[in-house]
């Protein structure tokens, strides 16, 4: 008995001595970030989710990037010396590469010293993305776009070894610092591809040295170094000592100027010495770590939303007193319920409009998004050209009386004669609840719905094989251009392309085709808006919402804003060390 008591006492003592939490003493210029899922690896061609691409973007860089302080989002040169020269026919893009940019030091280079980046590195990196043996997950970005690249890929998919030295017509270097792309047809959105991590520059020596382990040895030209990547719960980057001269922007959109984002204008990047990324899967420990000041900013977890944000959508006093501030940022996305337009039933526009009008988006916003989202009026979200400010669709519900009239006009008074309509959705709890909500809403006008839950890949498969009637889904922007949303309704893009609903409207298709080869201009925006109105009027989907990000940040974190395109953001962020010491004492 004595021994047992001693054991317990020892345990308590050990807990007391060792278990005492280490105060967050790291008040230097270290960014402490958190992410809710594992990072897949550090190979740019596999970085197809938000978190992996953010990690890749700390070490690797691309030809272009988004201006950190300009909205609407604007592309600017990064590893390119200037924006490209585009030929008149919109087919040829010629880039000058920035001179004197060095890869990080690594044993793959002679004497372990990183060499200079050259145009050929981009040819190599983009061929890696197209390499059929590697099955890069960003191939869709270039599929069918660069002259000769699809042929190159096809040829080597049938041969045992891929020859990177074979010249591809649309992907060439003109000299050491000049890179030229030739496209199969004009595609103005091509430039966005060059700001995405899939096309970031890697060095072939590093790939050759590490082989399959390349994904654990990131060696780029970026602001931070990660000597070895290990798939663990903590990734620590340090500032690259050889990072080129790159300065914090001196220009900004008005909203950023007034919010004090130019305090660091003209300073050498990156502004912090270290970035620590903590992988915290569960929301409670993420939230508690933020409240203790161990994480610099956080997207508010659903369960903590009501305690942090008041009904009037401001931050509660408790958090304001801790120096925490709230940032609200509309996300470039849309949730929707799509009709399968292959079915004759849904080619009846009055039926589609009736169902759209029966759907109460305001209530769904309350139920599923804590009333934080914006009801969608059409397909293009706010924040990009093509979205019509203050536009309200005539078929935006709820209007049950009008819906009933339209249903009768469609030939189904009170739903008589309609079959039971299946609604397929992903199998997560919220998706299932949304399905039940759609069922209830449609029952008001006599439309009977049967909800079917599917694992995500199963739902994709059903959509591709056209085995759905109605399905609930969402789309997030790949790049900030309305084309990325409008293409979801373009007839020739029908599934297995991105147009899963199979909507096919000749007028819409014609406008899309015309706009798809136009560079950004007021004329193109006018076409986008016209398509957006058609998409509202014809109700090819029942529109849901555009979600908004509600983020909290500590006062010691400087220059942070919530954005849809976070790649490379860490280099612009700063930590006010003195303020952090004071804040941490209070937390």
């Amino acid at each position: 008995m004595k021994k047992f008591t001693s054991l317990l006492v020892a345990l308590v003592l050990i807990s007391g001595l060792i278990g005492c939490t280490k105060k967050n003493k790291d008040t230097g210029r270290t960014l402490n970030l958190s992410i809710p899922q594992e990072v897949k690896g550090m190979d740019p061609i596999y970085a197809n989710d938000r978190y992996s691409s953010n990690e890749v973007g700390r070490v690797y860089e691309g030809l272009l990037e988004y201006h950190y302080l300009k909205r609407p989002y604007t592309l600017v040169p990064n590893l390119a010396d200037a924006m490209p020269v585009v030929s008149e026919d919109g087919l040829t893009y010629t880039f000058k590469i920035r001179k004197g940019v060095m890869f990080h030091d690594d044993a793959s280079f002679p004497n372990g010293k990183g060499r200079e980046l050259v145009a050929e590195d981009f040819v190599y990196s983009i061929k890696r993305l197209a390499d059929p043996k590697l099955q890069g997950l960003g191939w869709w970005l270039l599929d069918g776009k660069v002259k000769g690249l699809n042929e190159w890929r096809k040829k080597y998919s049938e041969l045992p070894k891929v020859d990177y030295t074979e010249v591809v017509e649309g992907l060439k270097t003109l000299d050491k610092y000049t890179l030229q792309f030739k496209l199969n047809k004009p595609f103005p959105q091509f430039l966005y591809s060059l700001a995405m991590p899939f096309t970031f520059a890697v060095a072939k020596e590093v790939v050759a040295k590490y082989g399959q382990e390349f994904l654990n040895h990131p060696v780029g030209t970026g602001p931070f170094i990660l000597p070895v990547f290990q798939q663990t719960k903590k990734i620590t980057y340090v500032k690259s000592p050889n990072f080129r001269k790159k300065l914090y922007p001196t220009e900004a959109s008005e909203e950023f100027k007034t919010a004090g984002f130019l305090e660091d204008a003209g300073k050498q990047l990156p502004l912090v010495d270290k970035v620590v990324v903590n992988v915290i899967i569960e929301s409670q420990p993420r939230w508690l770590n933020f409240l203790k000041g161990k994480i610099d900013f956080i997207g508010i977890p659903k369960d903590n939303f009501d305690s942090a944000v008041t009904p009037s959508r401001t931050l509660s006093e408790e958090y304001i007193s801790k120096g925490i501030s709230l940032l609200v940022n509309p996300s470039l996305d849309i949730t929707y319920t799509a009709f399968n337009h292959d079915l004759k039933l849904f080619q009846n526009v009055d039926l589609r409009r009736a169902m759209a009008l029966a759907y109460d988006v305001v209530k769904s916003n309350e139920l599923f998004y804590n009333n934080t989202a914006l009801p969608a009026q059409s397909v293009v979200p706010p924040g990009i050209a093509g979205n019509i400010k203050n536009y309200v669709s005539s078929f935006r519900g709820p209007n049950v009386d009008e819906a009933k009239k339209l249903l009768a006009k469609a030939g189904y008074p009170e739903g008589k004669g309609l079959p039971i309509i299946t609604y397929d959705c992903p199998s997560g709890t919220v998706s299932r609840q949304i399905g039940e909500y759609v069922k209830k809403q449609m029952a008001q006008i006599g439309v009977r719905i049967k909800v079917i839950n599917n694992p995500w890949p199963e739902l994709q498969k059903k959509i591709t094989k056209r085995q759905v009637m109605l399905y609930g889904i969402a789309w997030g922007a790949d790049y900030p251009d309305a084309e990325n949303f409008l293409q979801l309704l373009y007839g020739p893009n029908k599934s297995p392309g991105a147009n899963g609903s199979g909507y096919n409207n000749p007028e819409f298709n014609k406008l899309f085709k015309t706009s798809s080869i136009m560079q950004d201009s007021p004329e193109r925006t006018a076409l986008y808006e016209k398509m957006n109105r058609i998409a509202a009027d014809q109700a090819p989907w029942i529109y849901g919402v555009h979600r908004q990000n509600f983020t909290l940040r500590h006062s010691f974190l400087k220059n942070y804003m919530s954005t849809d395109f976070e790649t490379g953001q860490a280099q612009y962020l700063n930590i006010d060390s003195k303020l952090k010491v004071k804040v941490l004492e209070k937390l």
Binding site: S15, C20, T21, E38, N48, K234, L288, Q460
Partner: protein, 313 residues
């Protein structure tokens, strides 16, 4: 039959077991699991790319060839690379095993010792208020979901009182110690309810045996009877209960690892299932099956040590 012959023969059971396990996971994967190519390609999956990727993953091979691949990897321990993370699976397992074991070994050891001690203690006072209260507390502890202990423990002891780290992990001793104390304590609290009830039943079964009456008649003290005779005789069910749990320790404590951000095997298994990452699922299933057989052999051998009546056949 001597010990070595017995052990060798039992270990040979691994072969048919692995063939069976390989068959089961192969069937489950092909019938139930979602298409990994679709998961990997996400919203940009095209029919051509899905077909290319399936071919690259070897999913277009005939079924018998795919089955043979599983069997081969089980016997060579070459599980290849994860489809999702592209990492070498053996390295992933080696890396994850240490954090998992640093949590599960001390937690399991302490919870077993504490539970056996408590159950011996309450058996001593069987039928009295102390015993009744202990049973009541055990039932009470078992009635609360494990998630509640984790959420409350983390909030109170780590966040409010600041006694422990909220989450995280550092490699190497003693750096990891501050990070595992709270999860270990929660593990113990979670185990005490069911364990004490089980061990107490085992002890009480023994206490009513004839030899205990004989010992009492001889005038031995309760303490001697309990610690020298009852505990020794109760060892068979105790050993079975303890050893059979060990293989599952390698899978880690999924919830605890997730909530405390411990980079263990639990997370690897969960991610594998979530992403239809067949090589990872395959490796974890086969290794667990092997460990199960090995530990059941160890259990049998320990039987002979704790109970001379048991003979290996």
């Amino acid at each position: 039959m001597n010990l070595w012959q017995y052990t060798l023969r039992r270990l040979l059971y691994i072969i048919p077991t692995i063939l069976g396990v390989a068959g089961i996971i192969f069937v489950i994967f092909n019938l139930v699991a979602p298409d990994p190519a679709l998961i990997m390609l996400g919203k940009h999956a095209s029919v051509a790319q899905i077909a290319e990727l399936r071919s690259e993953l070897g999913l277009d091979k005939p079924y018998w060839a795919q089955y043979l691949d599983i069997v081969k990897s089980a016997f060579t321990f070459d599980f290849g690379r994860s489809w999702t993370t592209k990492q070498e699976i053996l390295s992933m397992i080696k890396r994850g095993a240490i954090p998992s074991l640093t949590l599960s070994v001390p937690a399991f050891f302490l919870s077993t010792v504490i539970s056996i001690s408590i159950s011996l203690f309450v058996s001593f006072y069987r039928g009295k208020w102390l015993d009744k209260s202990a049973v009541f507390i055990c039932v009470l502890l078992m009635s609360v979901t494990s998630l509640a202990y984790i959420l409350f423990g983390q909030w109170l002891f780590a966040y409010k009182l600041g006694w422990f780290e909220i989450s995280g992990y550092e490699s190497g001793f003693p750096d990891f110690v501050p990070y595992i104390i709270l999860p270990v304590i929660i593990w113990i609290v979670l185990s005490i309810g069911p364990d004490v009830r089980f061990y107490r039943t085992v002890m009480l079964d023994e206490i009513y045996q004839d030899y205990v009456r004989t010992a009492k008649a001889k005038g031995l003290s309760e303490k001697t009877i309990l610690f020298k005779h009852v505990l020794k005789n109760a060892m068979i069910p105790i050993v079975t209960f303890v050893v059979i749990q060990i293989p599952f320790l390698i899978l880690g404590a999924l919830l605890l690892e997730n909530f405390f951000s411990i980079p263990g095997l639990g997370g690897i298994t969960l991610n594998g299932i979530y992403n239809s990452d067949f090589p990872v699922i395959k490796a974890m299933t086969i290794l667990t099956a092997m460990a199960y057989i090995i530990f059941s052999v160890i259990t049998d051998v320990i039987y002979t040590l704790v109970d001379p009546r048991v003979r290996l056949k």
